[in-house]
Assembly symmetry: C2
Homo-oligomer: 754 residues x 2
Amino acid sequence: MPTTDYSIGILQYIPFFYIIWSDDLLSASEISVVTRAIEDDNSLNEGEKQQLLLWLKRDFPPSNEEMKSWQRIISNSDVKLVENDTYPLTSLSQRLGNSNAHQQELNDYLKHIEINLGIQPNHYNHLFDVEVIHEKSSDQYSSTILDGILMGSHKSIVTDFRKFLDQSIFDWSIQRDKEKFRAKILKQVKFLGENGYGAMAYDEEYGGIGDMPAYAAIFEHLMFVDGSLAIKFGVQFGLFGGSIQKLGTKKHHDKYLAETGKTKLLGCFAMTETGHGSNVRGIKTTATYDKTSDLIVIHTPGKNDNKEYIGNALHSKMASVFAQLIVDGKNEGVHAVLVPLRDENHNVLKGITVEDNGYKLGLNGVDNGKIWFDQVKVPRTNLLDKYGEIRDDGTYFSAIKNSNKRFFTMLGTLVGGRICVAKGALGGAKMALTIAVKHALNRRQFNDSIKIQEDLIMDYPTHQVRLTPKVASVYVYHITLVELMKRYSDNSKFDKREIETQVAGLKSIITWFANDAIQECREACGGKGYLLENRIADLKGDVDIFTTFEGDNNVLLQLAAKGVLSDFKAEFNSAGFTSVLKLLRSQLADKLSTINPAYSNKVDKDHLYNPKFHKHAFSYRTRRLTYTLAMRIRNYIKKGIPSYQAFLKVQTHLLVLGKAYSVELAYEMYSEFCLTISNKEYKTLFEKLGTLYALNQIHTDASWYLEQGYIGGTKSKAIRQRVERLSTELRPHIEVLVDGFGIPEHCLTAPIAK
Amino acid sequence: MPTTDYSIGILQYIPFFYIIWSDDLLSASEISVVTRAIEDDNSLNEGEKQQLLLWLKRDFPPSNEEMKSWQRIISNSDVKLVENDTYPLTSLSQRLGNSNAHQQELNDYLKHIEINLGIQPNHYNHLFDVEVIHEKSSDQYSSTILDGILMGSHKSIVTDFRKFLDQSIFDWSIQRDKEKFRAKILKQVKFLGENGYGAMAYDEEYGGIGDMPAYAAIFEHLMFVDGSLAIKFGVQFGLFGGSIQKLGTKKHHDKYLAETGKTKLLGCFAMTETGHGSNVRGIKTTATYDKTSDLIVIHTPGKNDNKEYIGNALHSKMASVFAQLIVDGKNEGVHAVLVPLRDENHNVLKGITVEDNGYKLGLNGVDNGKIWFDQVKVPRTNLLDKYGEIRDDGTYFSAIKNSNKRFFTMLGTLVGGRICVAKGALGGAKMALTIAVKHALNRRQFNDSIKIQEDLIMDYPTHQVRLTPKVASVYVYHITLVELMKRYSDNSKFDKREIETQVAGLKSIITWFANDAIQECREACGGKGYLLENRIADLKGDVDIFTTFEGDNNVLLQLAAKGVLSDFKAEFNSAGFTSVLKLLRSQLADKLSTINPAYSNKVDKDHLYNPKFHKHAFSYRTRRLTYTLAMRIRNYIKKGIPSYQAFLKVQTHLLVLGKAYSVELAYEMYSEFCLTISNKEYKTLFEKLGTLYALNQIHTDASWYLEQGYIGGTKSKAIRQRVERLSTELRPHIEVLVDGFGIPEHCLTAPIAK
């Protein structure tokens, strides 16, 4: 029977030891923190120090009897646990020995342990059978500062825009009738255009500020108002306006761009066909130049060759139509042509048929339609001719001789839209997570006794693991997208093809992430999440299609993987793959370092939390997958298997590589950003979020790492435990973290988020 | 330079060898199949045999030059590949040497190899540069026979019901206005009731046939008509009627059951409260017996204590209200009381307030509402008193003395509803998969050359891996649910508590599976899947909530895990957990067999396809997780940690165990069923589906198996490859497999499924 007659010096350490030994997560570095503190603590005499150090030996943990006696000491002490003390555990511990201990007199060594072990009240408040003075969340961090870090250089534009959104025209309401819904959204889009928000990415002479990143930041905020608004806004200003801006020349800009920005000209972006979604190069619509009349004839040849799913199709006066351009009998490949759709009375013009796509799973405020062209004639000047023109003598000219290269150069200019799609999806995830977290901080359910208050559902470990890694991922992806947009908009520095690959990969993983997050939030809010009034349901329906439009994720990931394979140098979109095969040889020279057993079994917290470990794990995965993929393709080709078939055989491998590459990229961009945060406390928080993201990603793909022997079973388990632990550690800050997303109060209409 | 001047004997083996060596999947058992065939093939002379056997050595595979020469022989042969030949490869191979070879003269040894290696045309049709005569799908199996196997003993009822559904009242249409939608669904429910389909589970004297499994089979089919119909049908007949049937006594049956079955009495099931969803035992509504007036007073005490999300609330005349029964000042726990809600003019009665829950993500044809009771008085006889009664002398009596046990006995009788929820979700998955597969067999996209026809998207390996394991899972879960319903309805044989645990687990994994499958189908159909007309969108919205209602999946899985922990013997729903702790000791005695390296690295096809391997893997996982869970809980308790806190600490572990247990159970039930299939060919197909399910499950949880050392890295990779291979092998049968779900043609309204 161990003694319970401890000195005050020892007593103050008892709660710490009880917590430390009630879990088995104690690592060598944590033991060293405690050891050091005890050795330095002058309030202890030598006997006390020796006793405490004895209890710290991992091979001889305190007996169960000892543990129980400690529990009794704490339970019988009459000391209350005050969650919102700055050092709640130190405070509780010292009051055990001295009921008058005050914050200002707290033992620095105990405080040091409390901070360095990352012990949070919600770890242990159930352990002690004492009264807990609860707090909903900690005020250690400020959501305003977090928000400021996320807004970055767009702080003033975003802040103004949030205020601008606080007008009744943007009030959210349930919309079931598509006609009324579309009318409402159209009004909002026009209001935004009239107030200059549509043209932000255009040059000043066309009403803008030439700032695509600012446009993207605004765009994301529209998701907080309504998904349909974001998408219709994007179609009008980003796709239609963007095609004029990027594919047209000065004559088009002068004639249409300012009008488009102000929504005086409504337009649509007619690329996708019923028969050709992902395979844009195979579209069938033709634009045939007739030299005699000097007109271009737009035509839909077959029954599945109509334009499909075209946003804004019912409200538009004009379309930017993608078609095979035929000049003098020769197909010059896909080009865009501006085609008027309706007259000033909004009657459809001759030869044009538009049909409503009808009701959809979401985004019913967007008027999607099908469009057929029957020998529709437009002036030659309507060809958006930046990359390929029909000259006055009726001949075709392009500075880019290779038609493939030309096609992908044109498409490449529109990649900004994909970044916006990812930003929009992330905005949806932010909204859903904010609602789910706030609900979980209000809702109580179950408990060990019906006598005392039920627990907040946010206090359940399962709930923490469901939501917290997703909140961390939002931080990582937000920063990633800001950086990506910066690179995309900066033509001088970055390789265009590399950016395209990055966008393809990140758009895929981020839109999938957003859907997963929204679904998790729906379930985490139970039946309440299912009600339209609580907003998550609409987000789910709206964001769903983000995985498909502006490039189907499965197709994009293959594109990304092929980019990685070719080191971003080769022309991969063509079917030949010849350039890839040339590059495989150099890839194969890439030697992978061998992982030694000490590394693959290293489970120390310092190691697991070290960004170097995460980066190495991500980079190892990408390189290994690239190497094995290249090997497989080479072997197939060597046996005479046609390259198209060889690529089919490795299709699933391509997807895996595409994802791995994108995760590595996101984490790298985020880590670099963390280095730039000047406030040390916030830097630490951001790093912790990054660590949770990284460990959660490695955990999610643990089977691959285990297969490769990169991590051993023990390390894999330790990583899983760390994900759970970090989710719990962040519990006191979870509300501040979602408030940091900066969703305007007036947009958060969900009753359960109040 | 290898010779290309082969004899006819060798020539006929060339395509086989080309296929075999173009992949590296060849296992020892496969080599032995080929070796044996060559040795036995009398059409070959000794020299030919030796040459062929030489090419079969794994350590000395044919050179790349040899492979290329084979490819040239095949490409230059002018032989066409006819996909719908019974033995397409044998036929092609023999025609290489003899252009007049006919089916009936085919070499039996080649046929033997073709069958045993499971080589399918879609493996190799791109390999040979020859013209392919395509087929959409094979006619090796009949969907009618598959359907018959799935219908089992309910064949005639189901067949009749499918015909019954082919009436205009069941025509599907897009519904956006909830009032109109609800009116339509109400009409359909009444029509079903009037035609005797509502009462099927009730006894004959109340208009039924006393057949709950038949009722469940019918119920699933309603999902093909509309999710709202299925749910409203389930509320009226299953929940409201079921509560009268299962919790009431003869006086209630006589008075209400026939009326309910015929929908002359519409009712609702008022259990959930705003403040208490999953924790039913904590509901606050009171039913206080007033001895003086001999009435029971129903009352909603606080603002969050109203009944919430009650289906049929706006159409009902009566509610089965769950409330704390207070007799003589003592709370006897939760009981159900029949409470009239409206008069014959459908006016709400005094003291009752009903409020519409409004629009939801899905199921808008179901009228969910909130209900408040303000001192509403009902006769004593309205208490559903099978398990607890108020006697004439005003005293409470129950044969079940323990109030916990009584509560769970009552709830247990309603477990059938959970099985129906899982069946409904599975019906939704069937519908979505049928639509997605049919779409993938119509839709073409991309190819290596624009000259020839684009590939069907079903021919893409990624598409096969996305959809085929899910189709296989539907087969497994369908059989599982039929068996589960059989056990549930057979009170004589099975332990009630065990069935409850099984239902809790299976409801969770199957409803989650259904949601994943529907989401995958939505994405697999691209933008088309997003249109309401194609039905997947509504399925997505409707089935979503199945993960939450009739028990939140996360809560149910913990229940299932606790059942496993206690060997189904203990009272686990109570908060005390005392009985569990007693049982832990016996659990800990469970010795786990050690896995030897030879086993964990065994990658032979025979082994990987052997149900014994799958069962061992599943059972090992369940037992191992149970053991480690028990150990963890015991250690916490020993240290004096309160049991409630100990269980919180292992919450994520509980979820993992709950899932593992459910997967094992499903596969076991399915395997047992396979043994009963008499037709050998169909038995083989069902076993193959089971193998795909099992390997896919192990693959999905590979990280756990790797962590435990149960499988090594090589085996893990081999399992993944087998999942891909099986998905490809089943490609020719995929349409027959979904047709086997038996969804009536008139329910398959999606234009993309035509």
